[in-house]
């Protein structure tokens, strides 16, 4: 087990281009926690994972495992386990032999190998498949075997997973996800999970690192990412539907959108025109028959648990919730927004404002 520290890490694949695959970042990955690296394709999350695992040597910065500089060490010397998008298993061996392989190569004795393999197989639910040829398994089982090969080594420092559910049948994804969570709880390992799927990230991780275009936008617990996104992209990316982002003129306590005034929960200094964006989640915006900011109703969707309304405030389209038991008819209604969940972003970044 290890605590992994990234110091001043930055990486560019092509030294000639100005585009860095990964912009400078510092981060500490605490032992025993589960992290998710979340972001759209090309945001640098796989690059970051490969720097941690040793497949890539970063252009700048250092990687430390428990304080020891491993930046120049290759993968096999860092004592990590990696699960890839596609199941990587040894076709010619059985499941049991696959799991035993890393231990056999390290010279462990046969009985110890057998008990360890049985232990891990039990943890992953593979006990019945142990003597089966690895080649004929389902994708889900193969990924479990891939994972198992990493777990059999008791001294493994961290498990790195690169979009491991990619090839899993959608109906089986939740099962493997819960298995991963169970493994994490049982073995208390540092696990870093790369994904572009927010559901996977938010359900799996203790802490999520949201990335875009090579930068880390926010590192926080899933709850905090939802409640207080520090970047418009985080707000937009997380949640379904994501956060509403509306251009506004902000001054003092008031934001003006399409000619209407909206009370803010804090005091903001004057913001240059055109750079401020109001952000609020549909969950905290309610459509009411009277009062609030006047909006036109475009569409109502009944999703069972809640009702979503698509409304228009001037040229802006906004998603809001229709509270239970509130009848909405006609094309006009009002919009109210919870003030403590109404955020101001300038140049995409959260501005805290003075809440006195």
């Amino acid at each position: 087990m290890a605590r992994i520290t990234l110091e001043g890490i930055a990486h560019t694949y092509d030294v000639r281009s100005a585009n860095a695959a990964l912009k400078r970042l510092d981060h500490v990955w605490e032992q025993g926690r589960a992290y998710a690296l979340l972001g759209p394709s090309g945001c640098g999350k796989t690059t970051l994972l490969n720097i941690i695992s040793g497949l890539i040597t970063p252009s700048e910065g250092r990687v430390l495992f428990d304080g020891k500089d491993v930046t120049q060490l290759p993968t096999e010397q860092r004592n990590i386990a990696q699960v890839f998008q596609f199941p990587v298993i040894y076709d010619t061996m059985s499941v049991g032999e696959n799991l035993a392989f890393p231990l056999k190569n390290r010279g462990m004795d046969r009985r110890a190998i057998k008990s360890r393999v049985a232990e891990i197989a039990d943890l992953l639910g593979l006990t019945e498949e142990l003597s089966r040829r690895a080649r004929g398994l389902t994708a889900e089982a193969k990924q479990k075997v891939s994972l198992g090969r990493g777990l059999v080594r008791a001294d493994v420092a961290a498990i790195l997973l690169d979009e491991p559910l990619t090839v899993i049948d959608p109906s089986l994804k939740w099962e493997l996800r819960s298995k991963l969570k169970a493994v994490h709880r049982a073995l208390n390992l540092l696990m870093i999970y790369v994904t572009h799927d927010q559901v996977e990230a938010l359900t799996f991780a203790d802490e999520v690192v949201v990335m875009k275009d090579g930068s880390v936008l926010q590192v926080a617990t899933p709850a905090r990412l939802f409640e207080q996104p520090e970047h418009t992209f985080v707000g937009y990316f997380i949640g379904s539907p994501g956060m509403n982002l509306v251009a506004a003129d902000v001054e003092g306590h008031v934001a003006r959108v399409a000619g209407h005034a909206i009370e803010l929960g804090a005091h903001y200094p004057k913001v240059p025109a055109g750079s401020a964006v109001l952000g609020f989640r549909p969950d905290y915006a309610s459509v009411v028959p009277n009062g609030g900011v006047p909006v036109q109703i475009r569409r109502l969707e009944d999703l069972g648990r809640r009702r979503l309304a698509r409304v228009a405030l001037g040229p802006h389209e906004i998603f809001a919730t229709v509270p239970h038991g509130v009848p909405i008819d006609g094309a006009e209604a009002g919009l109210t927004i919870r003030q403590d969940r109404l955020f101001v972003y300038v140049n995409d970044e959260l501005v805290p404002g003075d809440r006195r």
Binding site: L55, F86, D91, T92, N105
Partner: protein
């Protein structure tokens, strides 16, 4: 994972089908057309047809003995050539670098022997193997080995083997190398993380993933060695005696030299049948390997 049944796939195969059909079937049809119009030949051919085949397969007859001799030559040659070329080719492919500036020049150099027209290959070795004016011949005799490519049966046969190995190992190398590069990096990374030795990586990752390519290599080389003609013809002329008289050489000798079209026809038919049978056997093996993949 099962393949999906999809007859629309015939559309994807159409171009290939048409091209090869055009090349394979239509010419055959014109031959049939011409042969039917040849009244004299036809009658005689059918009259004697059976006799030729019986003669061919009977080792007591002159033609039968010749045929069996040539068949034996071919099979043993193919076996030896394969046993040398395939492991050697794989070994060299494993030695080639995965990336870097050296890959291009190395690939070019390795490919060179295959780019020389086959008669020129024969010509090079014709000189090269002579003890008086060729480096190879001179070196061998200098080492005290009794070597004479044109007059010693063993020397001649070995020379053909050496030529074939020199000429065609690059095919094995290039196909194997391409196959190796096609293995995704992740497998090598996993093997390194699992602390697998070089040999274990080869046996557990590279060899299984190369299965298809190796089948192609072995079959292709077998077919080519079985049909070898130009090199032995140029270098040894099929001699001394019948030491290097392979099937195709014999066929041409009989057909053209002795104007014995009947035997030649029979021989070529049997020849084709043998190749077809062997092709079918290997093909079935390939299908079995394929099925086992998805067991």
């Amino acid at each position: 994972m099962e393949k999906s049944l999809n007859n629309r796939a015939w559309l994807m195969v159409m171009p290939v089908f048409v091209l090869v059909l055009f090349s394979a079937l239509l010419p055959m049809m014109t031959v049939v057309n011409y042969s039917v119009q040849d009244s004299m030949g036809q009658n005689n051919f059918f009259w004697n047809g059976d006799a030729w085949f019986r003669d061919l397969l009977n080792p007591a007859t002159e033609i039968g003995a010749r045929f069996q001799n040539a068949l034996f030559k071919n099979l043993s040659f193919s076996l030896v050539a394969l046993l040398i070329e395939v492991p050697l080719g794989i070994a060299i492919a494993l030695c080639l670098p995965r990336s870097g500036w050296a890959v291009g020049p190395l690939l070019v150099v390795i490919a060179l022997p295959m780019l020389i027209p086959w008669n020129v290959v024969g010509t090079i070795w014709q000189i090269f193997s002579r003890a008086d004016i060729g480096l190879f011949g001179a070196a061998l005799t200098g080492l005290g080995i009794p070597y004479n490519a044109t007059q010693g049966a063993v020397s001649a046969w070995c020379t053909i083997v050496v030529i074939d190995v020199w000429h065609w190992t690059p095919l094995v190398i290039l196909l194997t190398y391409a196959g190796l590069r096609a293995i995704p990096d992740a497998f090598y990374q996993a093997a390194r993380i699992d602390a697998a030795s070089r040999w274990a990586t080869f046996v557990n990752i590279e060899l299984p993933k190369l299965q298809k390519v190796l089948v192609i290599v072995v079959l292709l080389r077998f077919m080519q060695t079985f049909m070898i003609y130009t090199e032995p013809f140029v270098v040894t002329g099929g001699g001394p005696g019948s030491a290097t008289t392979f099937l195709s050489i014999d066929l041409v000798k009989i057909a053209l030299g002795q104007v014995d079209l009947g035997s030649a026809a029979a021989m070529s038919l049997v020849y084709n049948l043998i190749t077809l049978t062997l092709c079918w056997i290997f093909f079935t093996i390939m299908m079995q390997l394929d099925r086992r993949r998805y067991a």
